[in-house]
Assembly symmetry: C2
Homo-oligomer: 369 residues x 2
């Protein structure tokens, strides 16, 4: 019990350190933006509000793994704490930049039940009554595109300037480049699937999930920690593998929860994935069964009724799609445990980092409902 | 005559060197993209086609000024030719990234009379017949957003990695940050003006023109040249001032040509600015005259007839708006000559760099019609 409290306390301190860093970054940018007029500084101010309200999962994960790795090894040249926190903050900026462009692309105005930045800009524009709804929406989406660009640039500026040994910086820049390429390729795949330009077979859908989300949410923080701790390459490879399995398991679990979970618990519209025609592993499996003609007739129907939604959901269970995807989550979790145990070709991950990953796996197990 | 031929030959050689560098960058990215499927590598291939077809005005300007500056001074530690050409190429990538997001924001499918990247993706999507026109347009715009992001990231990667003395790299990163902030603030202002959220007074419109275009088109290449040549700070300041005047003069001249120029010569729809309701200095001036009620009644009318367009154009001349803006161009040109002459508080610019800028000013004078 004391260990758990101690662990939570450490995490809260880490969160605060990253949040303080982000506050400083946004305060400096908002002040600099004032030279360009009130609309521009307002945009920065809004972005600060949205980023600082987040859980900072990715930066905290990075610093936790980093701390575990350095406490168990003695890196040749240690990296200053300040640099670690700054890179952790940059990872959050990158995350938010991706979210913004994703919301622009999907036309979303809401995220996790509250207005996103674009929604907030739309409300501003509409309230001022100086333009019609169309103009206000255009203004709001433009703000989303431009702030995404600014934060993508800010992420790179931090990676380029932070105080790091030359070889470490190059590895970090390689990692950033790889992450951005893979995440954007995943986003393109996601849109191609939704727009019907790319065939939604199961392997494509799984690749999309891994690239679009797992790469930057799990692999990026874990590999960054390994590089900054100057851990041996085999450890970085094991962490990459662990990040892949965790990321994919979380994404598949998310799909399961959206479709089969209890709306009282997850707080989302229980049929939104079905209404939007989202191409998930569940749907890819269903497509190969005799239930498909019935599912297909209502899949992607924005007017889907509650009753029909419940019927589709039952069909997706009956045809075996639910069970199949739960099996995929099991497979990814088992693969994760194998990496953590250092069985097969994987090298073992030091106990401290293993504890962080096991805590994440436990979180995954708890999110079943 | 021989000098002009020699000069043109040097410029053609520079252009080729930058184009070769860009070709290599795109070839490497397209090859790496293949790991993520044909849609992703196709997107890179299309971007390559569009960038390589350009005139490379900005990179050539940078290298010409750089060469002039180093031939007249002896920098402490010289920067490798390879690095110079690589940064010049990065400046073109940044330009194209801005163009792409600008086209997404404006909903444009055409640039300089041919399909832009988004238009080309739309044609692809439509031709495949796998989705409706709405889906194909969504796919195309998504491609524009994502490629803009990739090129913004690629620009930063080059600035962060290119072989430069530490102090020079920091100055270059500062310049890149300043350029991006100012260009994006200008873009936001432009959209706010078009959407009617920002009042279109003359000073706001002039600020928008300077920030949105002049900053990255003229100031960026000229300041980059000064930093890379390790020229004294007063010279960088003079070049910044020269870039501002040239950039603003070019932008105002563009507005004049679009509204009053001969369509046979400039090849654009002669009334498109009026139809789109573009907020230019011409319109800001007209707003303060008694001609405004008549101009206003048709300004921004997408159905504007040829006859009404000609009438508006005549009114904009009669009310003094044309003359006023021609006067502004004169003022900027005079200010440029003052900087070049080193009068007032400005320090003089060395003869070689001055020649490059005078050639640009001459181009500006020739573009009158």
């Amino acid at each position: 019990m004391t260990a758990v409290v101690g662990h939570n306390r450490t995490r809260a301190l880490l969160r605060n350190a990253v949040e303080r860093e982000l506050s400083e970054i946004f305060a400096a940018q908002t002040a600099a933006a004032e030279a360009y007029g009130s609309e521009f500084s307002h945009l920065w101010g809004l972005a600060a509000e949205h980023v600082l309200g987040g859980k900072l999962v990715r930066p905290v994960l990075m610093v936790e793994i980093f701390d575990a790795l350095v406490s168990e090894s003695a890196p040749e040249a240690s990296v200053e704490r300040e640099s670690i926190i700054r890179i952790a903050a940059a990872i959050e900026l990158l995350h938010y930049s991706f979210l913004l462009h994703d919301d622009v692309i999907d036309g979303d105005l809401v995220r996790r039940g509250r207005r996103n930045l674009i929604g907030a800009l739309l409300d501003d524009g509409s309230a001022r009554g100086e333009c019609d709804q169309r103009g206000a929406l255009h203004w709001a989406r433009t703000g989303g595109i431009l702030m995404g660009d600014l934060l993508l640039a800010a992420t790179h500026q931090i990676f380029a300037r932070v105080d790091l040994p030359h070889a470490v910086r190059i590895q970090m820049l390689d990692l950033l480049e790889h992450t951005i390429t893979e995440s954007i390729a995943g986003e393109q795949l996601d849109v191609g699937l939704s727009d019907g330009l790319i065939a939604p077979d199961l392997s494509t859908v799984l690749t999309m999930s891994a690239h679009k989300t797992a790469t930057y949410t799990f692999e990026l923080p874990m590999r960054a920690a390994a590089i900054l701790a100057q851990a041996p390459q085999h450890l970085e490879r094991s962490l990459t593998a662990a990040g892949y399995h965790l990321g994919l398991a979380f994404q598949l679990q998310d799909d399961l929860i959206s479709t089969f979970g209890d709306p009282e618990l997850h707080g989302k519209d229980p049929y939104s994935d079905l209404r939007e025609g989202k191409q998930t592993a569940i749907i890819s499996y269903a497509r190969m069964t005799s239930a498909w003609p019935t599912v297909e007739s209502e899949f992607g129907n924005p007017e889907l009724t509650e009753k029909m939604g419940a019927r589709l959901r039952a069909l997706l269970t009956e045809c075996g799609a639910e069970k199949f995807v739960r099996g995929l989550v099991e497979e990814q979790t088992t693969a994760l445990y194998e990496v953590l145990a250092g069985t097969g070709s994987a090298h073992s991950i030091a106990p401290g980092a293993r504890r962080v990953l096991l805590a994440l796996a436990a979180e995954l197990e708890e999110r079943r409902s």
